[in-house]
């Protein structure tokens, strides 16, 4: 018997529901107004469920996003029509009704839809909203993750994430931000906030130290997608945007080499560099070139530069540590947080020897804040080893073990400790 659904299954790209759903929420928000953001989210969810109920029987429609858009929009119109006597202004009703006869094509002009996502990104990253809420909003509205998925990724309860989102949306209702990409003098500071949030989102995925790894890896991909959107938009296409994109790509290029088959962390010096993604590295370096235009060097420029040094080194031994140290020296002017200073100490040790590294660590301002960070002790252990002080090294590694619950990190540290103890005996 001939199948009248000729393997259409294979045409449904990964994440179509999540991506298109989120995209359509942004577009519906443009059409119906910021005050109907939650309605937009609800009707898109309903449309997706309707697809789930119908498509197995009917096959996938020719243009799935248009189908979802149409169903969601009609549903929104139904709801608003029912509510209209209570809330809507005459003008709104007229404009909504005007929508009905129109083809959905108009809403799918690529640049319009892309701009809707960017407009939504600026709304989610409003400076009056806390950074953690900004990230929750991005994940929920722009990336289409469910509250349960976000909760699992952050090891938080659904309740916590739900409350965070409710608070953030209440805040948005009070702020009443324009659904637009800011212009003029506002742009620079607003863009900074957006870049920061997207950068943190990327890190959430990159530091797979907790929660569900697969979802978190998606966070990084989403951060890259959003930064690509920003960098391709004439207004947001700034040196800093390209620097951030470069930094992300140069890190992402090394994702797969960071973990072994069992999900255990592999240190930079032990990574199989053939596994690094050459295409991503090339794109990252290109972005780094593009980032050179401005008069100001940002922390993203410097971090991308450091990452580029690693990516360009043929082997760990061939790493240009002097250049990396120079970049860290510049970075501490912008960000002298203990973490950056710790990384700088590693570069100092590579260039000037472990004793200089230890000295740099003792000079870290606010070192107390690192006391419970396992890497501080792991790094000190490494320096002690290099100085031939095994007993001191063992002490540091034991201390490091106290401060991490992550299996891959524990395995690594226990391995170190074991080999020291074996050599001592």
């Amino acid at each position: 018997m001939e199948s009248d659904i000729p393997n259409k299954t294979h045409y449904m790209v990964d994440n179509l529901f999540r991506r298109e759903g989120a995209r359509i929420v942004s577009t519906l928000t443009r059409i119906f107004g910021m005050e109907h953001l939650e309605l937009a989210e609800d009707v898109v969810q309903e449309a997706l469920l309707k697809a789930l109920q119908q498509w197995p029987y009917s096959g996938i429609p020719d243009n799935p996003p248009a189908w979802i858009m149409q169903v969601a929009r009609n549903r929104a119109l139904d709801v608003l029509r029912r509510r209209q006597t209570f809330i809507a202004k005459e003008k709104d009703i007229a404009s909504w009704y005007g929508l009905e006869g129109e083809s959905t094509d108009k809403f799918f002009l690529d640049h319009e839809v892309r701009d809707d996502e960017l407009r939504m990104l600026f709304v989610c990253c409003h400076p009056l909203i806390s950074v953690e809420s900004q990230i929750a909003l991005i994940l929920k509205i722009l990336c289409g993750f469910s509250i349960a998925e976000i909760g699992r990724a952050f090891l938080s309860s659904e309740e916590t994430i739900h409350k965070r989102l409710v608070r953030a949306k209440r805040m948005l209702r009070e702020i009443r931000p324009q659904f637009e990409i800011p212009g003029g003098t506002d742009l620079a500071t607003r863009l900074d906030t957006v870049l920061k949030a997207v950068y943190l989102l990327f890190n959430e995925g990159y530091n797979a130290s907790q929660g569900e790894r697969l979802v978190r890896a998606e966070f990084s991909h989403e951060a890259i997608r959003l930064t690509r959107l920003l960098s391709s938009h004439s207004v947001c296409d700034r040196p800093k945007t390209h620097a951030l994109l470069s930094l992300m790509l140069l890190h992402a290029a090394r994702f797969t080499a960071r973990l072994d088959d069992l999900g255990q962390l592999i240190l930079l010096q032990d990574q199989d560099r053939r596994l690094w993604d050459r295409a991503l590295i090339a794109e990252g370096l290109e972005e780094l070139d593009r980032s050179a235009g401005g008069e100001k060097i940002s922390e993203y420029h410097l971090q991308a530069g450091i990452s580029a040094c690693h990516c360009l080194a043929e082997s760990y031994e061939a790493t240009d540590w002097s250049r990396i140290l120079m970049l860290y020296e510049m970075l501490v002017y912008i960000d002298n947080s203990p973490i950056v200073l710790l990384n700088r100490a590693v570069a100092i040790a590579k260039v000037h020897g472990p004793r200089a590294g230890i000295h740099a660590i003792t000079k870290i301002k606010d070192r107390k804040r690192l006391e419970k960070y396992y890497l501080l002790h792991a790094v000190l252990g490494e320096f002690s080893m290099e100085l031939g002080n095994s007993e001191q090294a063992a002490k540091h590694y034991r201390k490091a073990l106290e401060f991490t619950r992550v299996k891959s990190e524990r395995m690594f540290l226990s391995g170190k400790l074991k080999s020291i103890i074996e050599n001592l005996n």
Binding site: M1, S3, I5, N7, K8, T9, M12, N15, L16, F17, R18, G21, A22, Q45, L48, L49, A51, L52, Q53, Q54, W55, P56, Y57, I60, G144, F145, S146, A148, E149
Partner: protein, 117 residues
Amino acid sequence: MPQKYMLIFHGGFYDDLSPEEAQKQMNKWFAWVDKLRNQGKYQSGEPLLPGGKILSHKKGKIVIDGPFAESKESVAGFFVIETSGLDEAVEISKEYPDFHLGGKVEVREVMKIEVPE
């Protein structure tokens, strides 16, 4: 002789699914339907909306009611398939994708209408 069976799907609760989970769930349905089609066993199928009405006859009058069944119990759709017998129809039904969402499958043989010579 091939025999027709109706697989009646009860329930299957989708409301809590994330977009990603919904898409995965849908892919399972596609895979199932595709397989049955390729094997020439799939005849037809329709999804049903919840709600509707139930008509009955009481004291000489037609009474129109409500639906009685909880929506999580109500019929969400059906397939008509053609198999070698009940055992195969049951085997096929084991691949129904919505068990973990609380769904159930009822397997019923479609009666052959016999026309006497």
